[in-house]
Symmetry: C2
Subunit: 280 residues, 2 copies
């Protein structure tokens, strides 16, 4: 009995979750096309983009000159080459309308010119408070100070502009995945407001974090991401071809580590931040 | 005897090619780090980048507004949104030094500001005539008029800036692969100048094209690229996970078609163009 009880609880929780998911999928309140199922699918797709980005960045060595504030010395610009590339690329993508989509969050919002293209009717399901949530400064710091030294082998091939462009694509993919937490939180909230409202009113961050945490799901995501890294990062050759270079493009466990240590915790941080504003 | 003779010839050709390859790998004349083996490895790696790029572009629908000259109407700019994004991104990457690497070729060379970063000692093995070879106008036309309609499903999700950025990354990867023909031609020339010189002096384009064509190698490349597209484009899930969405990210035979119809012929065009200037 002692052993069976937790098992029974687990089965009941799973049933309850499945019912909720089914409800969210069919509910008209579930947010104009955003459902638990569609949000899950988007997160899974975004994993692929992040893995391709990791492989592409790992093709270049560390190229430390790209990150050295004293190296570039570009007239009229104070900062490293990667800052130059990211700030200016974001500015021109802003003119082209990138940040009108509520799924996108810039790294340097203070430098953004307005969009210069006709507006598109993106589905608006988020609470207006979402617009003020942007943790890209933390993502930037994590990426350059902690993650990149693990990913890039030391060396210098002079391709600083290309390296910076690859950093930007990868950063954008990681940022989109993390800030997608706003949509995850909104869909979860609409699905069970009675569970969230008391915690939100009590500003109970810890309680919200507990309600959002499913250890077994997180474990599954990490395993899937590592498997994707192994599949997408393998050398593919035809039968009979010589295989000169069979080392993997990067260590697949790094993808899992990125998710465990940063992507998942940051996503939950965004979810809690969003929920705390949800009733304002 | 009638049957054996062509077989013997084939074996002799293969032996001769292998000897050449071994010679090129060890020869000090083979170009400061560029050898037949290293050039082959670079081409194989570039396939992966192109496949990831195809998958990323296929994630978006056609988004035709991005290519419509009348849609964007950006003040002070005449052209489509994709032209706006490509021209401006190239300009800022030029400032960051991208085009100092002889492996890179811009789509809009006429709009490029000079590099603003210290110069890097890229290996210079090409004949100076290489700098005037740029077939990006043909690549641009092929990509937007012929290939993209095959790759992107019809539809509009409003992510025009993101789509244009994805187009640019893919175009850059395809362009790099095709213009790498300059390095392929240089290494082949250094390896057997006696075969090339008479044809170059006679301006014998057809003869050069024949000398550069190995149908079985081209066939192998196409097969490998299609296999890569199938491997990298598959949905990866853990055992026991539900698989809601098992359609491939794009049709792998499209990758093979891209190579057969455009990448391989354009690369050979670059090689011939380069060789014709090699003795100037």
């Amino acid at each position: 009995m002692m052993v069976r009880f937790p098992l029974l609880v687990l089965v009941l929780i799973i049933c309850a979750l499945r019912c909720r998911m089914a409800k969210a999928e069919s509910s008209p309140e579930s947010g104009n096309g955003y459902t638990l199922a569609s949000v899950r699918e988007a997160l899974v797709k975004q994993e692929d983009t992040i893995i391709y980005g990791l492989i592409e960045r790992a093709k270049f060595p560390s190229n430390s000159h790209a990150y050295d504030k004293d190296y570039a010395a570009i007239k009229g610009f104070c900062g490293s080459l990667v800052e130059f590339v990211v700030k200016n690329t974001e500015a021109l993508q802003a003119k082209a309308g990138r940040y009108k989509n509520p799924e996108e969050n810039p790294f340097f919002p203070e430098y953004l010119p307005p969009s210069m293209v006709p507006s598109y009717p993106f589905t608006q399901i988020l609470h207006p408070g979402a617009a003020s949530i942007n943790i890209n400064k933390s993502i930037w710091k994590m990426y350059f100070q902690e993650f990149l030294p693990l990913l890039a082998t030391s060396g210098d091939d002079g391709n600083y502009a290309q390296t910076a462009a690859t950093d930007l694509s990868l950063l954008q993919a990681i940022s989109r995945r993390i800030h997608y937490g706003k949509f995850v939180a909104e869909v979860k909230f609409r699905d069970a407001p009675q569970d969230y409202e008391p915690l939100i009113r009590a500003k109970d961050k810890e309680g919200l974090m507990k309600l959002l945490t499913f250890t077994s799901v997180e474990e599954m995501v990490r395993k899937r991401v590592e498997k994707k890294a192994a599949v997408f990062g393998q050398e593919v050759s035809l039968n009979g071809e010589e295989e000169d270079n069979q080392k993997p493009k990067f260590d697949p466990s790094l993808a899992s580590r990125l998710y465990q240590k940063w992507v998942i915790p940051f996503t939950k941080e965004v979810q809690v931040d969003y929920l705390l504003r949800r009733l304002d």
